[in-house]
Point group: C2
Chain length 110, copies 2
DNA sequence: TCTGGATATATCCAATATAGATATATCATC
DNA sequence: GATGATATATCTATATTGGATATATCCAGA
């Protein structure tokens, strides 16, 4: 297992969040993120999965389907993802306090 | 003015959020983001500012200080930043619903 | 049946983004 | 006048990403 990085790339964070509800596999992660307007190309996706495995932030788990490789969060992965989520949450909080999120959609004057 | 990109880089988003409360200049943005554990090197900072200007997402505004260049959000920049904030907020919401943010700090079992 | 599209994983390369070093200059203060 | 903070900017090396390409299985419909 490689050393754990102190920071996550955006792709890594998104993958960890997609795995938070429970184990999934590469293609499933891609589809689930796609529903949330997060687009990861296959290159980024599978390379990031490899790096997360090497860093011990996710682990491979059992499956009956030969085609799929199921992954789940490790404790270390969950902790890092939570830290990153809180960092981003602070940023969003600043945006909200500044009134950036109050225009319901387009066309509202600032 | 260059064409507006559909997506923001993390650095661009962070800069836009730092400008949300009101106009600021490069060094001020760097210090403010540093307080929120967001670290941008000068290279990333000033290149991103240049790109945001070219894309019309920020605009230069008046200042009395010769050394500083003050920037403010444009409507287009505010809209894009808000959209990105909501996208990230959805991601954080998923993490929260999955119980990822409930361990108060380290040492709590998942 | 055979054909196309969805499912699934993986690698490669070109383009983009970032960090950090370096450079320059002003300002305040000791 | 030396030092550290303020302020902007560029350069290079590294990191990250998107998209093309490849391979293979599965399933539904013509």
């Amino acid at each position: 297992m490689g050393p754990q990085p102190k920071t996550l790339t955006p792709a890594m964070f998104q993958i960890l969040v997609a795995l938070a509800p429970g184990p999934s596999h590469g293609y499933g992660i891609m589809l689930e993120l796609g529903e949330m307007d997060v687009k990861l190309g296959p290159g980024t996706l599978y390379r990031s999965i490899k790096q997360l495995l090497e860093a011990g932030l996710i682990a491979e788990t059992e499956t009956d389907d030969e085609r799929r490789r199921l992954y789940e969060l490790t404790d270390a992965g969950a902790e890092l993802a939570a830290a990153e989520a809180q960092r981003l949450n602070a940023l969003i909080g600043k945006a909200r306090r500044a009134g950036l999120l109050t225009h319901p959609s387009l066309g509202t004057s600032r």
